[in-house]
C-alpha cells in the first residue's frame, strides 16, 4: 500500500555522500605543485632572512648581552667592546614621532578634502599627485632635505628655540641648528604622508552614507556631519593608518643617514645636531666595517626587523578590523 511505503521511505536514514575524486590531470598536478612551491618559497625566504640575521648577529649579541639595549655608545671594535642601540632606539622613535606629528594632520585633512569637499575633477588629480609623492625614492628626499630644507629651516629652528625654548624639547644648548632630528623628522613625515593619507582616505570613505545623510537632513553643516559621523566612525582606522606610517618611518634609512650627524647621547633637543636611527647607523658605518663591527650592525638590523614586523602586523590588524567590522550599517 503506497502510504505505508511513504512512511517507510521517510523513516529510512539519508544515504551517505559519495566520495568524488577530483580527477586532476598530470598537468594540473604539476601546476598546483609549482604554485604551492612558490608560496612555500616565500615562507622559505622569510625564514632564511630571520635565520641568517640571527646567525650573523649572534657573536655580537653574545658579547653585549642584554646591555645591547641599554648601552649608549657604539664601539664594537674597541677593547672592551662596548656598544648598544639604546640611543638609536630613542632616536628612531623620536624621528618617527615627529614624522607622525607632521604627517597625520595633513593626511586627515587631505583625506577629508578629497572625500567630502573637493569636486571630482579636482580630487582625482590630487590623489594621483599624492601617489606620485610615494614613488619618489628615499634618496631624493634625503638630498632635498639636506640641501634645500635644512638651510630654509634654520630661521624657523631659531625662532622655535627663542620663543618656545622653555619646553625642553625645543631648547638647544648651542646656537647651531642643522643635522637635527627636527629636520629629519619633517622629511620622514613627508615620506610617510602618502601612505597615511591614502589609507585614511579609504577608511573614511566607508562611513555609512545613510547616517551622513541623516545628519544633513537634521540641519547639520558639513563640518558638523564630519565631526559627528565620519570622524568617530573612522577613529580606529586612522590609528591603523598612523601605525602603518609609523612602520614605514621606522625602516627609513637613507634620508636619515644623509641628514643627521650621528651621536650617541640621548638628547631631548630635537633642534640641535645629533641623534641617530638604527637604519642610518647601519648605512653609515657599513662601508669600513671589520668583523666585530659587522656583527654588531647585523644585530642592530635584527632588532629593527623585529620591531618593524610587530608594528606593521598590529597596524594591519587594526585597519582590517575597522573596514570589516563596520560594514554593516
Amino acid at each position: 500500500m503506497p502510504e505505508v511505503d511513504l512512511l517507510l521511505e521517510a523513516a529510512r536514514p539519508l544515504p551517505e555522500p559519495r566520495q568524488i575524486t577530483p580527477g586532476l590531470t598530470t598537468g594540473d598536478r604539476v601546476f598546483r605543485f609549482l604554485a604551492a612551491a612558490a608560496a612555500a618559497g616565500v615562507l622559505v625566504i622569510l625564514g632564511l632572512v630571520a635565520l641568517f640575521l640571527v646567525l650573523e648577529a649572534q657573536p655580537a649579541l653574545k658579547v653585549a648581552g642584554f646591555k645591547f639595549f641599554t648601552t649608549f655608545e657604539w664601539n664594537p671594535d674597541g677593547t672592551p667592546a662596548h656598544f648598544g642601540i639604546a640611543a638609536l632606539i630613542y632616536g628612531t622613535a623620536m624621528i618617527a614621532v615627529i614624522a607622525l606629528v607632521v604627517a597625520l594632520p595633513i593626511a586627515i585633512g587631505s583625506a577629508l578634502f578629497v572625500n567630502e569637499y573637493a569636486p571630482a575633477r579636482l580630487g582625482r588629480p590630487l590623489v594621483a599627485l599624492l601617489d606620485l609623492l610615494a614613488a619618489v625614492p628615499s634618496l631624493i628626499y634625503g638630498m632635498w632635505g639636506l640641501y634645500y630644507l635644512q638651510p630654509h629651516l634654520q630661521g624657523t629652528s631659531r625662532w622655535l628655540t627663542d620663543h618656545v625654548g622653555f619646553i625642553p624639547f625645543f631648547h638647544t644648548s648651542r646656537p647651531v641648528f642643522g643635522s637635527s632630528m627636527f629636520i629629519a623628522g619633517i622629511v620622514v613625515g613627508l615620506m610617510v604622508l602618502p601612505i597615511v593619507a591614502s589609507v585614511t582616505r579609504e577608511v573614511l570613505s566607508q562611513a555609512p552614507r545613510g547616517v551622513c545623510e541623516a545628519a544633513l537632513a537634521l540641519g547639520s553643516s558639513r563640518w558638523g556631519m564630519i565631526r559627528s559621523v565620519i570622524l568617530p566612525f573612522g577613529r580606529s582606522g586612522i590609528v591603523g593608518a598612523a601605525m602603518l606610517g609609523l612602520g614605514r618611518a621606522l625602516g627609513e634609512t637613507i634620508a636619515i643617514a644623509l641628514i643627521l650627524a650621528f651621536n650617541f647621547k640621548i638628547t631631548t633637543q630635537i633642534l640641535a645636531p645629533g641623534g641617530g636611527s638604527v637604519a642610518g647607523l647601519i648605512a653609515n658605518n657599513f662601508g669600513e666595517a671589520g668583523d666585530a663591527q659587522r656583527h654588531a650592525l647585523v644585530a642592530a638590523g635584527l632588532a629593527l626587523f623585529v620591531i618593524t614586523l610587530i608594528v606593521n602586523t598590529l597596524a594591519r590588524i587594526i585597519v582590517n578590523r575597522t573596514s570589516k567590522g563596520k560594514m554593516e550599517d
Binding site: 569636486p119 571630482a120 555609512p208 545613510g210 547616517v211 545623510e213 541623516a214 545628519a215 544633513l216 537632513a217 537634521l218 540641519g219 547639520s220 553643516s221 558638523g224 556631519m225 559627528s228 559621523v229 568617530p232 566612525f233 550599517d329
Partner: protein, 281 residues
C-alpha cells in the same frame, strides 16, 4: 491658517527662537510649483504642482521608478547634494521659496525634517544622545534636555520601551525601534514639516502599525508628506494622496491629486484607477 511667528517666515536669517517650541505651531504649508528635477541630462520628474496643507498628511503613491523619492528630496534640498543634480520650479514653505538665492539649506532643513527608508541612528551615540543630536548639531540651546528627550520619545511612541536605557547604544534597538528613534530625533528640532521616504518598507507589520499610530498622533503639529509603496497604508493614514506616473522614457509627472477617500473610491483618471486595482504596479 495658524498664527505663524514672524521670525519663522524669513528662512535665510540666522535668528532662531531661543527655546525650541514644538507642537504649538500646527505645521507649515508646503507647495510645489512647476517642480522639475534632473540627474545630469536625465529628467526624473517634471512640472509637479502640489499643495500640502498645514497640519495634514499627504501621501505620494505610484509604481517604482516614477520619481517619488526624487520629488520628496527636492522638498528639503537634499536632491542637490548629488553633484549632477539640477532642479527648476519653486518649493514654498509658508509662502517663501526655499530655493531663493541667499537662503541657507542647512537652516531650512531645521524646518523641514526627513525620515529615511533605512533607519539610520548615529551608531556612536546612545539613544538619549541621538534624540537631541539635531539640537547639538544646529547649535540650538536646550534648557531641559531630559524633558525634551522624554517629550520627543513619547511623541514617537518609544518612551516606554527605552526610558530605562537611554544610555544604551542606539544600534542595540530593533529596526522598528530605530526608525521611531529617528522620528523622535527629527521632532526634537521642531520642524514644521516632516518628510518620510518609505519609512516602513524595511520594517515588519507590527512596527509599521506603531509608526502609523505615531503619524496619526503628530499630524496636527507637523505637516507630513509620506512616500509609500503600500496603497493600503496611504489609505489608512493620509488626508490627501498624489499619484505619480512615468511613461517609459518620460519624466515622472503627477497624474492625479486629491483627498484620499475620493482618489481611492472615485478616481478621475483611468490610469489611477488601473493602478489602484492592481492592473499594473
Amino acid at each position: 491658517m495658524t498664527d505663524i511667528p514672524a521670525a519663522d517666515v524669513r528662512i535665510e536669517t540666522a535668528v532662531l527662537p531661543d527655546e525650541p517650541s514644538p507642537f504649538t505651531s500646527g505645521g507649515g504649508t508646503m507647495r510645489a510649483e512647476g517642480l522639475t528635477a534632473w540627474f545630469g541630462k536625465h529628467c526624473i520628474v517634471a512640472g509637479v504642482d502640489m499643495d500640502m496643507p498645514a497640519g495634514s498628511v499627504t501621501s505620494i503613491i505610484g509604481p517604482s521608478g516614477c520619481g517619488k523619492s526624487t520629488f520628496i528630496r527636492t522638498l528639503n534640498r537634499m536632491h542637490e547634494l548629488v553633484p549632477t543634480a539640477a532642479m527648476a520650479g519653486q518649493v514654498l514653505l509658508d509662502g517663501v521659496d526655499i530655493y531663493a538665492p541667499g537662503s541657507r539649506p542647512a537652516l531650512m532643513r531645521l524646518r523641514i525634517g526627513m525620515v529615511f527608508q533605512k533607519p539610520n541612528p548615529f551608531p556612536t551615540m546612545s539613544i538619549g544622545e541621538n534624540v537631541i543630536s539635531g539640537l547639538k548639531l544646529a547649535g540650538i540651546p536646550c534648557r531641559d534636555k531630559a524633558e525634551m528627550t522624554e517629550r520627543c520619545l513619547t511623541r514617537a511612541g518609544l518612551w516606554s520601551e527605552v526610558k530605562d536605557r537611554l544610555g544604551a547604544p542606539a544600534g542595540a534597538l530593533s529596526g522598528g525601534q530605530q526608525q521611531r528613534l529617528c522620528i523622535a530625533r527629527s521632532l526634537a528640532v521642531s520642524p514644521r514639516v516632516l518628510l518620510m521616504d518609505e519609512p516602513c518598507s524595511a520594517l515588519d507589520p507590527s512596527s509599521t502599525m506603531r509608526i502609523e499610530e505615531t503619524i496619526r498622533d503628530i499630524r496636527h503639529q507637523v505637516t507630513i508628506v509620506i512616500v509609500t509603496h503600500n496603497m493600503q497604508q496611504a489609505a489608512r493614514v493620509s488626508d490627501y494622496t498624489a499619484f505619480f506616473l512615468a511613461d517609459k522614457g518620460d519624466p515622472g509627472r503627477i497624474v492625479e491629486f486629491g483627498p484620499t477617500g475620493e482618489l481611492f473610491n472615485a478616481p478621475n483618471d483611468p490610469r489611477t484607477e488601473d493602478y489602484i486595482h492592481g492592473r499594473f504596479g
